[in-house]
């Protein structure tokens, strides 16, 4: 399913999107399949599956630890695409990874592997618009969305450039800093939501962990909420994981629904 279809389906119901991140292979590839199903049951509309890289500079301690568990569990790009291909879910899946893994596999092969395993979008936190030309071209050819991030520091001229490049949704980084759950919402977040003027859906991530925050984000005008560290934290604790993932997903989704 394409990301745009998902968003228009949600729009008809006047509903915001819950985008859930977990790291593939954390702690095992088999575990991930089960967790994805649980997130879908809880109401996730899109799932971001991290493809673990050894040096994740945009991630905070929680996701770093998840990535480390996944790498220790033997996750590789080959296993990743096989696993994703075997998932039986009917929502868009997005791969989130660092540029070197794409570069090493070969941009074309990477994008084709995404297409054939059923991935709808690609997020690369260390690939700014300037360096993205070749990958963007390949994504377009293979009908895969290349999702860009904008930050509170993004200048107006860069914003324009990014908004013309980005497809699927625009990933708004809620605050300066790396990924990681926080209890508050930064003032800069609603400011940023206002600044991003586009028809492409806007999803806000970095630091969101509960239903109340999710509601605030949607009320501030976002089309979706991205939550990662809070889910990865549940996996780290390792107890009753599928039920807890499902419960958190449905808490977040409830928050999102109330907001509209």
């Amino acid at each position: 399913m394409r990301i745009s279809e998902k968003f228009s389906e949600l729009k008809k119901r006047d509903e915001g999107a819950l985008i859930a991140y977990i790291c593939a292979g954390d702690p095992t590839p088999e575990g991930t399949k089960e967790y994805v199903t649980a997130l879908v049951r809880g109401g996730a509309d899109i799932i971001e599956l991290g493809l673990p890289f050894s040096d994740p500079v945009a991630d905070g301690p929680t996701i770093q630890a998840g990535i480390e568990r996944a790498l220790n569990g033997g996750m590789t790009p080959d296993i990743y695409f096989r696993m994703v291909g075997s998932l039986k879910v009917h929502i868009p899946l997005v791969v989130m990874t660092y540029y070197n893994l794409i570069f090493k596999r070969g941009l074309e092969k990477f994008v084709k592997d995404c297409a054939s395993s059923g991935i709808s979008g690609i997020i690369v936190p260390d690939l700014p618009a300037e360096e993205s030309g070749e990958l963007a071209g390949l994504c377009e050819k293979n009908e895969i969305d290349l999702i860009f991030l904008v930050a509170p520091t993004t200048t107006e001229s860069r914003m324009e450039q990014i908004l013309t490049r980005g497809t699927g949704f625009i990933y708004l980084v809620a605050r300066l800093g790396v990924t990681g759950a926080r209890s508050d919402i930064a003032v800069s977040t609603s400011e940023l939501i206002r600044r991003v003027r586009t028809d492409t859906p806007k999803a806000v991530g970095f630091g969101i962990s509960n239903g109340r925050q999710a509601a605030e984000i949607i009320s501030a005008g976002a089309d979706g909420v991205i939550v990662g560290s809070a889910f990865v934290d549940i996996i780290a604790k390792g107890k009753d994981v599928p039920n807890k993932l499902e419960a958190l997903a449905s808490e977040l989704k409830d928050g999102i629904k109330i907001a509209r």
């Binding site: 040096d55 500079v57 070197n100 090493k104 700014p128 991030l149 300066l176």
Partner: protein, 395 residues
């Protein structure tokens, strides 16, 4: 736009592969650097600190005993005599002044051997700027003395316990800090690595080494050397001495750390010889040569010299190696150690283990004639920091 893009690269290497949050800061830094680079007031102040604080120019010393032993005429560029005991201060004085001129309130840095961290600490103290240094937990143990030195000068040393707990992880952590504090903080990268403009800027600040050699060698020899040899971790002492000679008929040898041999598993390399054995990849914001496995996961590197122990290398060196302008070579741990003892015994100079790799290469290659008759070796630092390591190896 196109042209701007182009200048961030050396051929296909370099660039800015960083989170969007940092892009505006890199734009600002590039602009400010380009402005002050040409500014007479800035340059006068920098020259003053290089002379009266750092002790430049550093001597070019004809090492007669070593020349006899190795069979080629050897000049040593004495960066070990620069304040702090390494070439690192050339760069941190430049970036420190820039920090001051830009009005940033805080400096962060990564360090491997602790030499760059020490150079940051000196600059933080002398310019009165709060300084915090990330250092791999493993390195804080093997380079304990440098941790004390930094702390004495008022710098906070933050041990990094993630990943391999060495330089690459310290850089990761410094980037994460910068992402969170980019508006108030300058990230002071210690080598010609990372995203544009760092490889260019650090090279320019280090070029004082090669500029001095040009004058000094003319005075002593009446001609340029046949070759220049420098150890290469990230590549800043190498680019610093190479760059002013890039258009001259001088062979340039970049000597990497061969560790215990150019072998690697899926997770770690027994060496840090990135130019010799790495492949194209993207690490810490730049496309360059990288030690990585077949999937692109970065390998843990290894070397007796903490300052060379890094899985990447400056993008300009990768480019110059590709076009054949520099010659990448390597020395093994035990060869470097042997050369370390040679210089101590024959010349009364205790070199850094990093610099000893350059010495070891000259020792090995002199007989082949590849170096010509007159060689300049960059002694990038002094070896006091390495005494514990050397004593441990001798046991």
């Amino acid at each position: 736009m196109k042209q701007e893009l182009k200048s961030t690269k050396f051929g296909k290497y370099g660039g800015q592969f960083v989170p969007e949050v940092l892009m505006p800061a890199l734009e600002e830094l590039t602009g400010q650097y380009e402005k002050y680079k040409e500014d007479p007031v800035f340059n006068e102040e920098l020259d003053y600190y290089l002379r009266d604080f750092a002790g430049r120019p550093s001597p070019l010393y004809h090492a007669k005993q070593l020349s006899r032993e190795y069979g080629v005429k050897i000049y040593l560029k004495r960066e070990d005599l620069v304040h702090g005991g390494a070439h690192k201060l050339n760069n941190t004085l430049g970036q420190g002044l820039l920090t001051k001129y830009m009005g940033k309130k805080r400096i962060i840095a990564e360090t491997g051997a602790g030499q760059h961290g020490t150079a940051c600490a000196m600059v933080g103290a002398v310019f009165g700027i709060k300084t915090e240094v990330y250092m791999g937990a493993k390195d804080t143990v093997r380079q304990r003395m440098n941790v004390y030195r930094m702390e004495l000068m008022g710098t906070k040393v933050i041990p990094v316990k993630s990943g391999s707990q060495t330089l690459k992880d310290a850089i990761n952590e410094a980037i994460r800090d910068w992402v969170a504090n980019v508006e108030t903080t300058h990230y002071m990268i210690g080598s010609v690595v990372g995203m544009h403009p760092y490889p260019t800027m650090v090279r320019d600040f280090q070029s004082v080494i090669g500029k001095e050699v040009r004058t000094q060698i003319m005075e002593k020899e009446g001609r340029f050397p046949d070759s220049i040899v420098a150890c290469t971790g990230g590549g800043s002492n190498a680019m610093g001495i190479f760059h002013p000679f890039i258009d001259d008929d001088v062979d340039l040898f970049a000597v990497e750390a061969g560790g215990s041999g150019l072998k690697a598993t899926d997770k770690e390399a027994l060496h840090s010889a990135t130019l010799c054995a790495g492949e194209d990849g993207v690490l810490h914001g730049a496309r360059t040569k990288v030690l990585q496995n077949k999937y692109g996961q970065i390998l843990e590197s290894s070397s007796i010299a903490a300052g060379l122990d890094y899985a990447g290398v400056g993008p300009e060196l990768a480019y110059l190696a590709d076009i054949g302008r520099i010659k990448p070579r390597y020395s093994l741990d035990n060869e470097a150690l042997e050369a370390f003892h040679d210089l101590c015994r024959l010349e009364g100079i205790i070199p850094a283990l990093e610099s000893s790799h350059a010495l070891a290469y000259v020792k090995n290659a002199a007989a082949s004639g590849e170096l010509g008759d007159v060689v300049v070796i960059n002694i990038s630092g002094r070896g006091d920091k390495d005494l514990e390591t050397v004593l441990g190896m001798n046991k």
